[in-house]
């Protein structure tokens, strides 16, 4: 029989447009093939610096996200009780009018009564600025829930951080240690990097993770650590290196604050602070002259010893107390073995392997470079040991110190921005910490006026806190107060609880964007739903008004009074700015845009456009011309191009001025066209002499100044010892004018330690080990991104429901078999779900996939969808506050430094259930008014085969 003729050369579509993916936080470049106005195929953009042509499962399912039946179609106004899901559709005029009326009243009385919080927002350079313009400090995105421990620890220690601001030197490293990483950021670059690293075949890859899935499955060694104990493992590795003298002294003296002298005067107001000249320069002990000298890479700074200065002060190098802590038996491998569950011999071997890779396999690149002190180096000598860490470390109440300890380990090995080690992604490194202070002090908030600075920033000491004279928090979430002084991403997880309790004060309007707070983005989910619907005796809602913007029918929609429907990512302008969360890699600085590749078929508007329009209606000065007209009549696309943060510095770094300027330059009206022409991104590859040692690389730093990345080209000394922490501790010890209230004093003194330390996570330390013996954690599945994936016809087939995974031995001891139903009980609540027994999990830990569970009737799914009947959340078990202790103030269930939500601290017990079926099981929500029915059969693509679109 003759073979049939096949049509092998049919063009994919009639148009190809580039834009940027939004299916997770990677922000890969994509090429969207369109046929007759319908999206036919989305592929990775080969030229794009982030993904170089690859695309993950999420990105490849973008069509189904774009066409999701969960899309909202019109603005909605609540007509039934809050939480009932009863809405009427209204016009945009009416919606914008309502929002303007509500917000205008607040702005002209007390702008703090607006709490504006965004979720997985990728336009924080706009949303944070908008909050400032409005005049409220009550703004943050979901970083406080996600990974602020990681970001803050990095920015306060290295001037960069894992994921966003740095990455392993995938192509040179000889040893990669990864902590607590599932399908976390950076999704595609990690997969690309691991593939390249293992194919190169010269490196060992160690994955430290309680669960052996995903990346851990391909690791050379899986270390199944007990959750929350990573700091003890890192501390013991440092212990071993210090005891053996295997640390990089020259690197420490030259590039870090290890040699900076601190006052050693216990009880004095300056104890533990750096000794500085009148000009503010830190001093080191010059070993050559035997005198104190301003720190510079050319001075041979002593790292040990105790000294007396000419004025009689007693001082020591800051490295000394740091190493003394880790040299102590408190961090011995034996002690760490008790805490982590990893045997001491393994810890010793890992330390030996780190030292071997760093010092015995030093990597030399024959590339001359010049440091900031003018010293010319003939080569780049690297310590090819790299680390990456993410939420498994971050989401614990000891996460900030653990992450800082990991950075100290990197620096002790000399493995920061050297060949083969962890490297910065420009525009990082930045000064440590970045020179941005949070705004919101009493004189910075005036009715009808913008704030003079950004809501979020990096406090350097008690003087930067946002507190009243008596210590009461100024922000609704209590960020930057004594509750969480260095809460650099805010504390979104506390907004609703605090607003409900009127603690520290009641608010008027809660304005949320893309934040599913009535479900998987909140701790204490059931309590949150109650708080959102709570009424005063007179029937007024305790939280009077809720505005919610989202593209999809998430669980949160039902709790809003006014719903502003957003577009999908293929229908909007956006900008991935260096001012925000860049897409650079270590060799390339890059930013990008999204352009609308198809037009919306619904009465929806891009939230960023809405925000700019709303700002103009409110008369916000930055969005309104003196004559009252709109400053950006072309809305967000116009703002992206013409808005300047500082003269010549805008949201996009490429194609400025006449189109040839980079970094700084006047606005260029043709900028977006130039981006589109270039594939919707701009990228500049660094010359090879600028690719390492960037904290002290003169050429790089001069260029970074010219580009507007940093204000000056001085060396950035890595801050192993953290003076800002010591300043808070000194306040707690009674020094200084700004004093913590008495009930905060002991906690500040204990945790604001300038040297990293490990302590047990708070929930674990508080609840009974007998009553709650197990750890419970979640991971994000590779094919899904939180809640969004479940509405996706393709992705939900991969994870339609989730199970509680439990170690086979542990499960057997509890009389459990796979498929059994169990009760999972925490100090806060209980759920009933189904278990699967497995081998590759820490025996004391249970885990599940995050955010598969859905409330019935949401996300365009049928009420009997498995997501609702067998999918569950651990969130119900997690309290937003620490367990009640008699007579004690109840802190947030969070890191004491940064306020990072400690949702991996959960402790539970597992009980075999006699009953079956999911519990709790909330009543189904109605589909929002205006929703289109979900198709019963999906034949997407048949039209293309037939030769044309629908």
């Amino acid at each position: 029989m003759a073979e049939p003729a096949l049509e092998l050369h049919r063009p994919v579509g009639d148009t190809v447009k580039t834009t940027t993916c939004y299916m997770c936080a990677c922000r890969c470049g994509i090429r969207v093939h369109i046929k007759d106005g319908v999206v036919r195929y989305i592929e990775g953009n080969r030229d794009h610096p982030k993904n170089k042509g690859v695309l993950c499962a999420k990105g490849s399912a973008g069509i189904m996200q774009h066409l999701s039946p969960a899309r909202l179609t019109q603005p909605l106004k609540r007509v039934g009780p809050r939480g009932s899901g009863q809405f009427e559709t209204i016009s945009w005029d009416e919606a914008m009018g309502l929002a303007t009326t509500w917000l205008s009243a607040i702005r002209h009385s007390d702008p703090r009564k607006l709490a504006f919080f965004t979720g997985r927002d990728q336009s924080q350079a706009l949303t944070g600025w908008w909050a400032s313009q409005f005049g409220t400090p009550n703004y943050a995105a979901h970083g406080g829930f996600c990974s602020v421990n990681m970001a803050a620890a990095g920015l306060y220690t290295l001037g960069g951080a894992f994921w966003e601001f740095g990455e392993p030197d995938w192509h040179h490293t000889r040893y990669l240690m990864m902590f607590g990483v599932a399908e976390d950021h950076d999704s595609n670059p990690i997969k690309m990097g691991l593939g390249a690293l293992k194919t190169r075949g010269e490196a060992k890859f160690v994955s430290v993770n309680p669960v052996r899935t995903g990346y851990s499955a391909i690791a050379d060694e899986w270390v199944g650590i007990r959750p929350g104990s990573d700091g003890m493992l890192v501390g013991a590795l440092i212990h071993e290196l210090v005891r053996a003298g295997r640390i990089d002294g020259p690197f420490l003296a030259r590039y870090t604050n290890a040699g900076w002298l601190i006052y050693d005067e216990p009880g004095a107001a300056r104890h533990g602070l750096f000794v500085r000249t009148d000009a503010g320069e830190p001093l080191v002990w010059d070993e050559v002259t035997g005198t104190p000298q301003p720190w510079s890479g050319t001075v041979r700074a002593a790292l040990g010893g105790a000294y007396t200065l000419p004025d009689g002060s007693t001082v020591q190098p800051s490295l000394r107390p740091l190493l003394a802590r880790f040299a102590d038996a408190a961090y011995s491998p034996e002690r760490a073995a008790e805490v982590t569950g990893i045997d001491a011999a393994t810890i010793r071997r890992l330390a030996a392997e780190l030292a071997h890779a760093a010092f015995d396999q030093a990597l030399v690149i024959d590339q001359p470079w010049t440091d900031v002190w003018g010293v010319e180096h003939a080569q780049m000598i690297g310590r090819p040991v790299s680390f990456h860490a993410m939420r498994g470390i971050s989401a614990h109440a000891n996460g900030f110190h653990t992450c800082r300890m990991l950075h100290v380990l990197q620096a002790l090995l000399g493995a920061v921005d050297t060949p083969g080690s962890w490297r910065y992604k420009p525009p990082y490194p930045k000064p440590i910490p970045p020179a941005l202070k949070p705004t919101g002090k009493p004189d910075q908030i005036l009715a009808g006026q913008p704030m003079p600075g950004p809501p979020l920033g990096f406090p350097m000491g008690p003087e930067d806190l946002l507190v009243e004279a008596d210590g009461t928090p100024r922000r609704i979430d209590k960020a930057f107060s004594w509750d969480a002084p260095m809460a650099s991403h805010g504390m979104m997880h506390m907004v609703i609880a605090n607003a409900y309790r009127g603690d520290p004060y009641p608010i008027d309007t809660l304005f949320l964007y893309m934040a599913n707070m009535a479900w998987n983005s909140a701790m204490n989910t059931a309590g949150t739903m109650e708080m959102l619907t709570a009424q005063h005796p007179g029937g007024e809602y305790v939280i009077p008004r809720i505005i919610y913007a989202d593209a999809y029918a998430s669980e949160m929609v039902a709790y809003a009074d006014l719903v502003l429907p957003d577009t999908t990512y293929l229908e909007r302008w956006d900008c991935i700015s260096l001012q925000d969360r860049p897409i650079s890699d270590a060799d390339t600085v890059a930013d990008a845009i999204r352009q609308p590749v198809v037009a919306p078929d619904r009465d929806v508007r891009a939230f960023q456009d809405v925000l700019i329009d709303l700002g103009h209606r409110l008369g916000l000065p930055g969005l309104t011309n003196p004559d009252g007209g709109a400053r950006y009549p072309g809305l967000y696309a116009d703002y992206i191009v013409r808005h300047e943060r500082a003269p010549g510095v805008g949201l996009l770094a490429g194609h400025r001025g006449d189109g040839s300027a980079e970094g700084k330059g006047p606005p260029n009206p043709a900028q977006l066209d130039a981006y589109i022409e270039g594939g919707c991104f701009w990228a500049k590859t660094l010359p090879v002499e600028h690719r390492y040692f960037r904290f002290a690389n003169r050429g790089y730093l001069d260029w970074a100044v010219a580009m507007g990345f940093v204000g000056h080209a001085d060396a950035i000394a890595l801050q192993l010892y953290s003076e800002p922490l010591q300043k808070f501790r000194l306040a707690a010890e009674g020094h200084g004018a700004i004093q913590p209230p008495e009930h905060h004093r002991a906690r500040i003194a204990a945790y604001f330690d300038p040297v990293p330390l490990w302590y047990p996570p708070f929930e674990e330390a508080t609840v009974s080990r007998e009553a709650f013996p197990m750890h419970a954690i979640t991971q994000r599945p590779m094919a899904m991104y939180h809640a969004w994936g479940s509405q996706n016809a393709w992705l939900r087939q991969i994870h339609t429901a989730n199970r509680l995974y439990i170690h086979r031995g542990t499960g057997s001891a509890l009389g459990l078999e796979s498929e059994d139903w169990v009760w999972v009980v925490s100090h806060h609540g209980r759920i009933r779900c189904q278990v699967t027994l497995m081998d590759g999990v820490n025996p004391g830990t249970v885990w599940t996939w995050n955010a598969i569970g859905k409330r019935r009737g949401t996300w365009g799914l049928d009420a009997d969808a498995p997501e609702a009947t067998r999918g569950f959340l651990l969130n119900h078990l997690i309290a937003e506050l620490l367990p009640e202790q008699p007579g004690q103030y109840r802190y947030a269930n969070a890191d004491p430094i940064t306020g990072q939500a400690a949702w991996y601290d959960l402790k539970v017990r597992i009980e075999k259930a006699a009953e079956t079926g999911l519990w709790p099981d909330w009543p189904a929500l109605k589909r929002p008014a205006g929703s289109k029915p979900s198709p019963r059969i999906n034949r997407f693509g048949a039209w293309f085969r037939a030769g044309g679109a629908q």
Binding site: Y41, K191, A196, R945
Partner: protein, 249 residues
């Protein structure tokens, strides 16, 4: 019964590296995305937002554990049609709908001849055939035949969607009939193997086994533990010891 070509000019197929596959499903979803609008479109999903979603997928990822304790492993195993040299799925076809191309060995289904009898899915020991209940015909991996030859695409893009999209570069495409091709060399170097060779279907696709893991200290050349720094004058406690150590760095 349908006959097979006696020889094929090429043996196009995939080489899948199990050493670096992290089980991310990128290949499976991108495959579905390409093919649902391609020559075998659509890859229908029944009940896509309901209680029992059931879709057509040409490529599926199976994640499972083998062994226990120290020898335990988690395996991510992508599986699609292996385009066998002597596939029963073709020879059992009563209508000639299933066929193997003489040019490149790709096994395809000619839908207008398919009566939906499913004999081929019973014959395939790998479970690689996918029945479209809506269309009433059998579908399967086409090796992106409408992409790999497509002259409307740049040459570099003429590879199967699963290969182009794989973030870890765990998938390779080429002519396994040519011993000098990149994929054949890779198979030779890494000990690539056939899936269930004992069945005798001579699959074209190959799997590369995981590389030996560097789990022992010796593999990286490091000792089992570091030796504490010698200290001849143990005085001054921790700080005395530390100061002597630091003065030598």
């Amino acid at each position: 019964m349908t006959s097979l070509p006696t020889t094929t000019t090429k043996r196009l197929g995939l080489v899948i590296d199990l050493d670096i596959c992290v089980g991310c499903h990128a290949c499976a979803v991108n495959c579905k995305e390409w093919n649902t609008g391609g020559i075998a479109a659509p890859l229908t999903d029944l009940d896509p937002y309901g209680a029992e979603p059931l879709g057509v997928w040409f490529n599926r990822i199976h994640s499972f554990e083998v062994g226990e304790g120290a020898s335990g492993r988690t395996v991510h195993f992508p599986k699609s049609c292996l385009h066998c040299e002597t596939p029963d799925c073709v020879t059992v076809c009563p209508t000639g709908a299933s066929y193997k191309r003489a040019e490149d060995g790709i096994v395809l289904v000619q839908e207008d001849l398919c009566i939906g009898c499913k004999l081929c899915s019973w014959a395939c020991p790998y479970g690689a055939r996918e029945y479209d209940y809506d269309a009433g015909v059998m579908k399967k991996c086409t090796l992106c035949v409408d992409k790999i030859y497509n002259e409307s695409l740049e040459e570099v893009d003429r590879v199967p969607a699963c290969v182009a999209t794989c973030p870890a570069s765990a998938r390779h495409f080429g002519d396994l009939g040519n011993p000098d091709s990149d994929v054949s060399r890779l198979v030779a170097e890494r000990g690539g193997y056939d899936l269930m060779p004992e069945l005798g279907y001579r699959p074209t696709n190959k799997y590369l086994p995981p590389r030996p893991k560097q789990t022992k200290a010796g593999c990286t050349g490091a000792p089992a533990a570091l030796s504490p720094a010698p200290d001849e004058a143990p005085a001054g406690g921790v700080f005395g010891w530390l100061d002597r150590l630091l003065s030598k760095l």
